[in-house]
Amino acid sequence: MKIFVCIKQVPDTETKIKISPDQTGIDTAGIKWVMNPYDEYAVEEANKLRDANPGAQVWVLSAGPKARVVESLRTALAMGADEAIVINGEGLDNFSTAKALAEVIKAEGGMKIIFTGKLAIDDNASSVSQMMAEFLNVPHTTVVSKFAFNGENVTVERDVEGGAKEVVQMMTPAVVGANKGLNMPRYASLPGIMKAKKKVIKEIEFSSLNIPATDIKVKYSGMTLPADKPAVKMLSGDSSAQAAELVKLLRDEAKVL
C-alpha cells in the first residue's frame, strides 16, 4: 500500500516578513523556509505506519516553486520517506493546490492513507486537506491527535472545541490532518540525510495536469504590515495600586469590561 504525505514549505516563524512591491505576496529574498510544522507530524505518522506494515511505502508531495520546495521534500526523505514528488508551479490558491495534489495522488495509484498537516502556518487556512478529500471522493478527518489503522479502517481522535475529543472511524482510503500531540517527529539521521541527497525527486509540471485557470478561486492583494501598536502603558505603585489602576483602565479607557 502507498501512504502519501502532503507537505507545504512555509517561512520559518522567526523570519522577518517584507511585503513585495506589488503587495500580492511577500518579498522572498532572505526568507528562511522550513517544512510546515504540522507536516512533520504527518511525515512521522506515515513513517510509523510504513514501519508497521511490511511492503508499504511513504510518498511525500509538495506543490510550489520547484527550486525551493524540493528542500522540504529532501528533509522528509531524510526523516525516512521513501519517494518524493514535486508539483512545480507558482501563484496557486488552496483550491487549485488541492486539485493538483488530488490529481497526482490519483495518477500515482495505490493510495490507502493520505496525511496532511491540520493547517499551514503561513496562510493559516486549514482548507487544502478537506478540499483534496472531496476531489478524491474519500473521507477525511482533521485536527487528529491519535491514529490507528487495522488494515481496513482508520480510527482517529480529533480535537474539537472546549477540550472535547471525538473518536472517528473512517473507511480507507482516507485523508488525515495531523495535529500536535499525534507523535514526536524523529530527527533526520545522518545516513538518512546522505541517502536523501541521492534520491531522484519525481517532477510534475502543474501545467501538465489539465487543471483549468478557473480553478484559481482566491487571490491576495493589498498585503500590508500590521499598524504600529501604541507603546505599552506600564502601571506603577505597589501591587494593590497596580491592580486597582488596571481595572480602572480596562473599564474606562479600553472599555473591555
Binding site: T13, E14, I17, I19, I26, Y38, N94, F95, A98, I121, D123, N124, A125, S126, S127, Q130, M131, E134, P139, H140, T141, V160, E161, G162, G163, A164, K165, E166, V167, V168, Q169, M171, A174, K180, G181, T214, D215, K217, V218, K219, Y220, S221, G222, M223, L225, P226, K229, V232, K233, M234, S239, Q242, A243, L246, V247, L249, L250, A254, V256, L257
Partner: protein
Amino acid sequence: MGKVLVFAEQTNGKLKRSSIELLQAAAKSGNTVVAVTFGSHAGDVTAAIGHNGASEVHVVKDGALDSYNPESYTANVVAIVNKVQPSIILASASSTGKDLFPRVAARLNTGVASDCTQLTISGDNVTAVKPMYSGKAFATVNFENSPIKIVLMRANQLPVEAADTSKTANVVENTNAATDLKTLIKEIVKGASEKLDLTEANIIVSGGRGLKEAANFKMLNDLADVLGATVGATRAVVDAGWVGHGMQVGQTGKTVAPTLYIAVGISGAIQHLAGMGSSKVIVAINNDANAPIFQKATYGIVGDAFDIVPKLTEEFKKALHH
C-alpha cells in the same frame, strides 16, 4: 442585491455569539439574509436568528445531526445552498466551520477564504482581510471564478448590537439529505471545562512557566471565573504536563482573538505571540521588566504574579459585581 446564507451554530440551544456577529453583518449589507441550522435543538434558535436579521431560516431537525459529521453536514449544506442560491456564504472559523466549508467549496466548485478578521460586503461582492504569517502581515482576499463566495470569520471580530425582537424569520423545514457515510463518529469525549473554547472566548487569562507549577493554575482559574474568561497556556506549560494541549495558545496551539488577553508569567516568545498577537487589549504581568511580552502589551505590570493576581481577582470582583 442578492442573498447571504449564514451558517448558524448553537450550543445546547443557544445561538453562538460568532453566529450573531455574522447575521448582523449580513443584515447590515442590505442583502436578504437566510440562515441554516441543524440538529434536534435547531428549533430553539430560530427566533434568535430572526431577531438578529435573517428573514428565512432552513432547519434540519434531525437528531442525527446533533454532532458534526463532515459527510452528512456537507450533503445538507450543499442541498440547502442549491435551494437558496446565495451569492455569499458566511460561517465562523470554528472547528466545524473550518472543517465543513472547504468541503462545501470543493463540491460547489467555488472559493473559500478562511480565518478572516475583516469583512466588507457590497452588493453581491465580498472582500475579506486575513492575517498571514502569524499576524506579521495582512492580506485582502479577492474572489475569482467563484459563483458563491464563502468567507469564514474568526470570532469576536465584528460588532454585535442588541437583537430586534420584533423581527422574525420564516422557518423552512428540510429533511436530512441522506448520504452513504464512510465516516462514523463513534464517541464524543467531553472536555474538562464547560467554559467557552479559547477560539471563541471574549476574555482569556493565560499562564506561562512563571506560574512555577501546575497547582498554581488555580489562581488563574479563580481570576477567570470572576471575569467569565477561558484559561489558556503556553507550550512550555503544556509540554511540562501542567495543563492539556487543548489549552495551548500559539503557533502550534490555538489562534485566539479575544477582546482582552491577560498574560501571566509569559515571556512572549514569537511562537506564542503568533497565536495571541491579534487580541484587542493585551495585559502582561511579568516580574522581568525586559520580557518581550511587554512590547506587544497594551498595559504592563512588572511584579510577582503570586502577589498581583489575587489582588486583581479581588478588584475585578468589586468592579463587576456592583
